[in-house]
Amino acid sequence: MSFDIAVTRRVGDGEIACRIAPADGLTVLFGPSGAGKTSVLNMVAGLLRPDAGHVRVGGETLFDAAAGVDLAVPARRAGYVFQEPRLFPHLRVSANLAYGARGERTGPLAPEEVVEFLGIGHLLDRWPRTLSGGEARRVAIGRALLSDPAFLLLDEPLSFLDRARREEIMAVIERLRDTVRLPILMVTHDRGEAERLASHIVEM
């Protein structure tokens, strides 16, 4: 179960190019701001269309320019935690968490487990605008986990957090990597984070 990615896309005068060879565990996409790391995540999620190449996750082809495969975003089952939480402002935390959980399928973890695991039980009745940055990010991670994702995309999940919160979220990511065993593709520009969390690192 892993990522197999080779994509290119022209942006203005430059080009975003990324190649990730299949490997287990948590892959960190590391590089300076503006290298196009978030664009790569968007291409894996289907929000941005590569000009060429392919995206395969766990053996399933999500995109292949040569073969004309381009799965729609909802069909890709990406558990995408964006850089900003993107919680739905008109829904309470509980409804945000349930948004992607449809019917029986709620993913590798039961809702109660996710709530417990992320420590967000006391937030369920709150509106997103009343949450702190760390709380909102944990809810966003929970919402992605409960949508029965086939893999996780984490975009700078530790940015704009104080030291205590960073430590908390890092522990959560380590648990996801080691216990849930979902393929995880994570973007960061912090060398320390990359070295601590990554099974392997791809430089951009």
């Binding site: 975003v73 089952r77 993107r86 739905f88 948004y99 909102a136 992605a144």
Partner: protein
């Protein structure tokens, strides 16, 4: 207070305004969505056409409606053939005139609120497995609701005040097309009817004010939708 005839005028105005807004709202939302989200050649032309009733003299709009809905006109002939009905000199004609005049205001308000919906939230919903239809119903529509309400109320207030296009299109028929502005105008022509003018004018002001306050209260109740990013 009001005489039975005056109550009749008020009731007719509410009916005409309500039907006009109810019928125009889906059209206004569709136009607003297309103008906010779709890029196509001729968009400027559509934008201009939608806004035309706002800038053309109302009497011209009324005359154009008359041409279209006359028994030998394109729409009127069709109504005649298929339903054996005509909207001329009828309250339904007054509602059409009011709806056409209210449309640009409604489109403007709704368009702004659709443009203000954060597209990144729609992307997030899609990654969570929502189909485009579900994204629209659960994210785009609720988040643009304050603008839809504002547009509906603005349109209703405009419809209540409609005069020029209505009197040109369906004339002033007491009990059928005589809405508040037309009744006030008619009363102004009669010496000694100042009392009636005053009462009807007062009702007009109160209705408009009530509509605005109601919209504000509804917007406050749904207005928790401030963006958190």
């Amino acid at each position: 207070m009001l005489t039975p005839e005056e109550w009749g005028v008020v009731a007719l105005s509410l009916k005409v305004g309500g039907v006009a807004v109810a019928a125009a709202l889906p059209v206004a939302f569709a136009l607003a969505w297309v103008l906010a989200r779709v890029r196509f050649p001729g968009k400027l032309l559509l934008d201009g056409l939608v806004h035309l009733p706002l800038v053309v003299p109302p009497v011209v709009t009324g005359w154009l409606l008359l041409l279209a809905f006359a028994p030998e006109g394109p729409v009127g002939g069709w109504l005649e053939r298929w339903f054996g009905a005509s909207v001329l000199f009828r309250w339904s004609g007054a509602a059409i005139a009011a709806g056409v005049m209210a449309l640009p205001l409604m489109v403007r308000a709704i368009r702004l609120s659709i443009e203000a919906v954060d597209r990144r939230l729609e992307d997030a919903a899609a990654t969570l497995g929502a189909t485009p239809r579900r994204v629209f119903l659960t994210v785009t529509l609720p988040l643009s609701l304050p603008g839809v309400i504002a547009g509906a109320v603005l349109g209703f207030a405009r419809a209540l005040g409609e005069f020029g296009a209505t009197i040109t299109f369906v004339s002033n028929v007491p009990g059928e097309t005589e809405t508040l502005p037309l009744a006030i105008y008619a009363a102004l022509q009669i010496p000694g009817a100042e009392g009636q003018v005053l009462r009807l004018a007062l009702v007009s002001v109160l209705l408009s004010l009530a509509a605005l306050v109601a919209s504000e209260l509804i917007a406050r109740r749904t207005g928790r939708g401030t963006h958190v990013l």
